[in-house]
């Protein structure tokens, strides 16, 4: 039956996709018949979460290799989809188009960084770690360098990076659940958490894999459908990606015409927190080469160091499949990322072009305040206008919006039916849930496998190991939700920090573990702990008023951290004895795809 399921995957997910489209159509009909917007939102979120929970339950397992690496039988393309869902977080889905909308070119370094990193994953790491046959990333570090301290250091870096990331994701599920289900955020966070745990608790990596594929399908439909629909409705082009050049040029023209008027500080005080105006050019180059490149570079190296991504490639049937699977992952990510700038363009133009019926710049305040969608989103604290110069008409610098509104509100502004907004909510939920699942699992697996089983109790039986793994999953989930409920940082800020933490401590120890035979235990430990400490120090220093150097900001502190890590690792390795013959042989074996994995099938 098991092999059967793998063979039938295209059919299973084909039926699932058809069923989901059917559900959208039923909701659209229900809307025409008078179903309320609120009921549609609840139906979308509840229906999709129920399906994920069902998949999670069907994937339950009591075997270690199914729990940790989905039995290593996930086909290339499906692993690509799962990785794409694992990768694209609530931030990618809800906040990315908004970031592009407000910050333009300087922000788009993230698009390049969050895709280019996969070239590093494919060429430097994924196939070799797959050959290694590890369950977790610290498993590789612990075996390659040897010793509990190396293993434990890797767990520390992994936990710091992934935990920073996961609070942001639980926060995002909470935000969406609170809007869609209309409950207070403090409770919605826990509703989100329970949905997340339903996917991963029983089936571990196997459950997460098959729910992530399902979540990818929901999120990509939810992202692309509105983009195409809006583009066609505005008459901007049948295929927006290839046809929006005129619109991009038109925005540039309008920017010239309106000018970027700087608001007085006193005026800006009246704008609600979190909302911003359009102050940067849409398509012009508005950042220095180094600002752009350093951000892109930090994100690329961070990508190659984040354990929740790397562990997805442990689930493929072969080394060859792991390589190809990275390509598919990036292809599926590309579908969404290349659409985000198009959505930002359509959203901006529809709001600021006075020649369009939806344009509000140049209208009188009374006119804008009478618009339904303006009232809705103003109430939701995502839109705000204020007549700073007192001339009665809305100017570009008098209009403020929240970053999330670009994805959440554009369908409504463009006049699409509410069913699309419900769909977008389900997509955002899927994006945030899938990433949160991958992250919580990465942390819980590292602690249960590497700390509990490998260090504390190597004789533990499988049943006990998996029990510990599940208990940790719940504990880490609740810890994350508790911090998320405090709402300390914004979604995007903490996501970027996670990349910097990961690259500070893990990039060079991982890469040199494969590519430099001479790298040894002492060097790796110095590299991991020293890199993490240096990166953290730099972040704290800049946050507390430090000036920084070389243009490295709090968003790119990983560049400093990883540089320290590299220097420490090389210097300490060369000062201490080279790895023994057995370790060198192990590295040789990792470098060829054929032969047995380094670690046994079940270890």
């Amino acid at each position: 039956m098991k092999g059967n399921f793998i063979d039938n995957l295209p059919k299973v997910y084909g039926i699932y996709t058809g069923g989901f489209i059917g559900f959208i159509i039923i909701m659209a009909i229900a809307e025409q018949m008078g179903m309320s917007a609120k009921a549609i939102g609840i139906a979308f979120v509840a229906f999709t979460v129920f399906i994920y929970a069902l998949i999670g339950w069907l994937s339950r397992t009591a075997q270690a290799d199914a729990y940790y690496v989905a039995g290593r039988q996930v086909p290339t393309v499906f692993n690509g989809m799962a990785t794409a869902a694992d990768w694209m977080s609530g931030a990618s889905f809800v906040a990315m188009a908004g970031g592009i909308y407000f910050k333009g070119y300087g922000y788009m370094a993230l698009l390049v960084g969050w895709t280019g990193g996969y070239v590093l994953v494919a060429s430097l790491l994924a196939p070799y770690l797959r050959k290694f046959g590890c369950y977790t990333v610290p498993d590789f570090i612990g075996t390659r360098y040897g010793g509990n301290l190396a293993r434990f250091s890797a767990v520390v870096v992994l936990t710091v990076a992934s935990f920073t990331y996961v609070t942001a994701q639980i926060n995002a599920t909470g935000t969406i659940a609170s809007v869609a289900l209309d409950i207070p955020f403090q409770y919605a966070v826990y509703v989100g958490l329970i949905s997340i745990l339903l996917c991963s608790m029983l089936g571990g990596m196997r459950g997460v894999t098959w729910t992530q594929v399902a979540q990818y399908i929901v999120l990509i439909i939810a992202y692309l459908l509105p983009v195409f629909w809006i583009s066609n409705k505005m008459g901007a082009g049948f295929f927006p990606h290839f046809m929006l050049a005129d619109e991009v040029a038109r925005i540039g023209e309008l920017e010239q015409q309106f000018g970027f008027v700087k608001n007085a500080a006193a005026d800006l005080k009246s704008v609600p927190k979190g909302l911003a105006g359009i102050t940067k050019a849409h398509s012009a180059v508005n950042a220095t080469p180094w600002a752009f490149i350093s951000l892109a570079l930090a994100m690329m190296m961070g990508t190659a160091s984040l354990p929740h991504v790397m562990m997805r490639y442990f689930t493929t049937p072969s080394v060859k499949a792991a390589r190809k699977s990275v390509g598919w992952s990036l292809f599926f990510i590309f579908l969404l990322y290349s659409s985000a700038p198009m959505l930002a363009t359509l959203s901006k133009l529809s709001l600021i072009d006075p020649n369009l019926p939806t344009g509000i710049i140049g209208k009188t305040f009374a006119e804008v305040e009478a618009i339904d969608w303006y009232q809705n989103w103003n109430q939701a604290n995502l839109m705000f206008i204020s007549d700073f110069n007192g001339n009665g008409t809305l100017e570009l610098n008098e209009f403020f919006m929240g970053g999330k509104a670009v994805v959440l509100a554009t369908p409504e502004i463009a006049g699409l039916p509410y069913v699309i907004s419900g769909l977008v909510a389900a997509g955002g939920m899927a994006a945030a849930m899938s990433t949160a699942d991958g992250l919580i699992l990465a942390i819980a697996n590292a602690i249960s496998h590497d700390v509990y089983y490998k260090i504390i109790d190597p004789k533990a039986e499988t049943a006990k190991r998996l029990l510990v793994a599940r208990v940790l999953l719940v504990v880490i989930g609740f810890a994350g939700a508790t911090i998320a409920a405090m709402e300390i940082q914004g979604i995007l800020g903490s996501v970027i920090w996670a990349f910097d933490f990961a690259m500070s401590g893990l990039f060079f120890p991982l890469v040199l573990g494969v590519w430099w035979k001479r790298a040894n235990r002492q060097g790796a430990i110095a590299g991991m702990l020293g890199g993490l400490a240096a990166g953290t120090w730099y972040l704290v220093w800049v946050r507390t008023g430090g000036s920084g150097f070389l243009g490295i900001t709090q968003l790119t502190f990983g560049i400093f951290g990883s540089a320290v890590s590299l220097v420490l690792m090389v210097v300490v390795s060369l000062m201490t004895t080279e790895p023994d013959k057995a370790t060198q042989k192990m590295v040789d074996d990792v470098r060829v795809p054929s032969g047995k994995t380094i670690l046994g099938k079940s270890h």
Binding site: G113, V119, V285, A287, P593, S594
Partner: protein, 86 residues
């Protein structure tokens, strides 16, 4: 030189080529972002803008598949590709 050393040598040169192409699309072209954006590129978008929206992203996708195929050929050449039953 042993078979395995030759295999690794070829693997390493493929890595350098891959990283060189990666460098061009992720870093190289953005050194000239401002100048390049003055020129109209594919589909009528300004060049730099197009690269950040689609060009570099698409190049990475193609690069990974190209790399995977080349690496498979290298593995086959030296008899290191996996057998199905492993």
């Amino acid at each position: 030189m042993s078979n395995q050393q030759k295999h690794w040598e070829k693997t390493r040169s493929l890595l350098f080529i891959t990283l060189a192409i990666w460098f061009v699309f992720s870093i190289g072209i953005f050194l000239f972002g401002a100048e390049m954006n003055e020129v109209t590129g594919p589909f009528g978008y300004p060049w730099t803008y197009w690269f950040t929206c689609q060009g570099s992203l698409g190049a990475f996708v193609i690069l990974i598949f190209w790399f995977a195929n080349r690496q498979e050929k290298i593995d086959e050449e030296f008899g290191f590709s996996e057998r199905e039953d492993e």
